[in-house]
Amino acid sequence: MLEVHDAVVRYGAITALHGISFEVNQGEIVTLLGANGAGKTTTLRMLSGLHAPQSGQIMFEGQDVTTTKAHMFTSLGIGHVPEGRRIFPQMTVEENLEMGAFRRRGSYTEDIERMYETFPILKERRKQIGGNLSGGEQQMLAIGRALMGQPRLLLLDEPSMGLAPMIVDTIFRIIGEIRDSGTTVLLVEQNAAQALRLADRGYVMENGRIVFGDSASNLLTDARVRAVYLGENVES
């Protein structure tokens, strides 16, 4: 569904991505793991058109989207939940969801109702403004807003960032439900253990390179991953 071939991204003199290649197949959850500065967010910014790669190629459903502008990605079927949620702080919850359907023609009231079924807390808060929601509610709203664009591929950037463990559990359960309802998910996470338990496959990034990729269950038992990302002592 999504294929990245040898993509290089530079910010001025600094090379953030040294030619990464990976793929995401229809119907799976793929997770990108890595420490701070490994290039995870840059990868997602590149995939949502916010920063075009200097070389390499990005293919989505057989179409070359390497130089496509950011605002065209929703129409292509790629939804992006940006890092730090970035909901519209002064719009109400309902207005935020409506903004998610900006590129759509015709009625979308049914979809808003479906979002309220998935996220009941948002229904309670529908007339409140986004900036007054808690972090977890904002994350749900950001995911709901991206889903309003009816994406076939959903890019999630650090959905667990700054949230209480219980809320993170809820968010991850919902990400699983999104996959089950037919939307492919690319998940960037620092919370490696939880991401790998949910994902089908994973890639590990270090210093702007993908160092290895495997099925999530293999990665969970991989000694290197356990040592570096799951904080376990290899000797024991």
């Binding site: 967010t41 949502s48 058109g49 916010l50 502008k69 950011a70 605002h71 065209m72 990605f73 929703t74 129409s75 992006h80 939940v81 940006p82 890092e83 970035r86 909901i87 519209f88 702080p89 002064q90 719009m91 207005e95 409506e98 903004m99 998610g100 900006f102 590129r103 403004i129 900036g131 007054n132 807003r145 991206a146 664009g149």
Partner: protein, 447 residues
């Protein structure tokens, strides 16, 4: 002594005295190079009549003012919450009523009728002219800038450029510029309107496309530069614009279409109705736009541009649209100025004027059409009043001191403007409580 200073009311009393001392100096007589301190000594020692009650020195008057200010301050701090509560309780019913559509339409129609009857009530020629040249034109300019600053959140410090393009387009179409109009012909001033609107919108697109890729402060600086470039061009392109001497010879407004012949002539009243018609037109168009798909895109861009892109909004496209649409009403203001004063020159279109228009928008309430309308009328009427009947000691240059002071007071007590838009009030509330996007902009916390 320290205990006295620690008492907040001592400090507030000193603040009141200091504020009134400044006001005394500002409103007092000017000094001169022979007696440089006369401005200060005269401000306090000069004898004045105290509202005709008794005669005294100025410092006594301002001392009483300071005590009054202190009393108001004390009342507000002690009983402010109760007053606010009582006010919001009594205002709740009327406010709910104005939210209903038929009531709103009723109010709008009453206001239009009042505006239409105004020139028959106000017959002083000074005020009749001021209603067109100073109030009507500035309402149009402020409404246009409100689209750019208030709706799309783009700080434009060169807005006067569009006003100038509108005025010069009128001169061009009517054959008053050294540059001949198409095929050497000339049109009635009325037909300058479509040409001027087309030209300013084109100018909006031309200025906007390269500059609107920038954000925040950078955009403000570049628009400032563009405003200056336009003025300098007008000043120096002698063969096209007539240079610093400007362009005269613009004919009065007239319309000749078959049997319909109308000449606006010399008096200000016909121009007033033309301006009023366009103000109403722009009010309707801008209100519809605010709640349209385009208006929602502007709001999204203003609140968070990255998020707006992520839901599929092309920021550049909608920002250029805001520029072009806002420019349209400024262009029409330019046509009115040219078609009524018949004489235009580059010295009118200064940075000072751009900032004046911005003050009207900020004072009225950014993003609130009703607020900007009221704000522009209030400020322009007040400054015209100061010109018409200047109080003792008032100098024309003082106007900006008062406008500046007014803005400072506004920012403290009503930061969202006179009639704030619902959304702006929320935005400022969020920024003050340290949440939301405004704070991110301030701390540079955006990637």
């Amino acid at each position: 002594m320290k205990a006295l200073w620690d008492n907040i009311w001592t400090r507030r009393l000193i603040s009141s005295l200091a504020a009134m001392a400044i006001l005394a100096v500002v409103t007092g007589p000017p000094g001169s190079n022979l007696t440089p301190l006369a401005g200060f000594t005269g401000s306090f020692a000069e004898r004045v009549s105290f509202f005709g009650l008794f005669k005294g020195q100025r410092w006594m008057v301002f001392f009483v003012f300071a005590l009054v200010m202190f009393a108001i301050w004390w009342t507000w701090v002690s009983y402010g919450e109760q007053i606010k509560g009582a006010l919001s309780k009594t205002l709740a019913a009327p406010q709910a009523a104005t939210r209903r559509r038929p009531v709103r339409w009723g109010i709008a129609i009453v206001l239009i009728v009042v505006a239409a009857l105004l020139p028959h009530v106000v017959t002083d020629p000074f005020w009749q002219a001021a209603m067109v040249e100073q109030i009507g034109v500035f309402v149009l300019l402020a409404l246009g800038l409100n689209v750019v600053v208030g709706f799309a959140g783009l700080l434009d410090l060169g807005f006067v450029a569009f006003y100038a393009v509108g005025a010069y387009a009128t001169a061009w179409v009517t054959g008053a510029l050294p540059l001949p109009f198409l095929f050497g012909g000339r049109l009635d001033t009325f037909w300058a309107i479509p040409f001027a609107l087309a030209l300013v919108m084109l100018a909006g697109i031309l200025l906007g496309t390269p500059t609107l890729r920038l954000r925040g402060d950078y955009l403000a600086i570049v628009t400032l530069g563009f405003g200056e470039i336009v003025t300098i061009f007008l000043n120096n392109l002698n063969g096209i614009t007539g240079g610093a001497a400007g362009s005269g010879k613009i004919p009065y407004f007239s319309l000749n279409v078959g049997v319909v012949k109308y000449h606006w002539g010399l008096g200000p009243v016909p121009y007033y109705y033309l301006t009023l018609g366009f103000v109403v037109l722009f009010l309707i168009v801008f209100s519809l736009l605010e709640h349209s798909r385009v208006g929602r895109a502007w709001t999204a861009i203003r609140e968070d541009e990255v998020a707006a892109e992520s839901v599929g909004i092309n920021p550049l496209k909608y920002k250029v649209m805001a520029f072009a649409i806002g420019a349209a009403s400024a262009g029409f203001a330019g046509v009115m100025t040219a078609g009524q004063s018949l004489y235009i020159f580059p010295a009118t279109f200064t940075l000072q004027l751009s900032i004046n228009i911005l003050v009207l928008v900020i004072f009225g309430g950014m993003g609130s059409i009703m607020g900007v309308l009221i704000g522009a009328i209030v400020i322009q009427t007040a400054s015209m009043y100061l010109i018409h009947t200047p109080p003792a000691g008032y100098q024309p240059a003082d106007l900006y001191i008062y406008l500046g002071a007014l803005l400072v007071v506004m920012m403290i007590f009503r930061p969202a403007g006179l009639v704030p838009s619902r959304r702006r009030r929320r935005e400022i509330g969020l920024a003050e409580s340290g949440e939301g996007h405004m704070n991110e902009v301030l701390t540079g916390d955006t990637p």
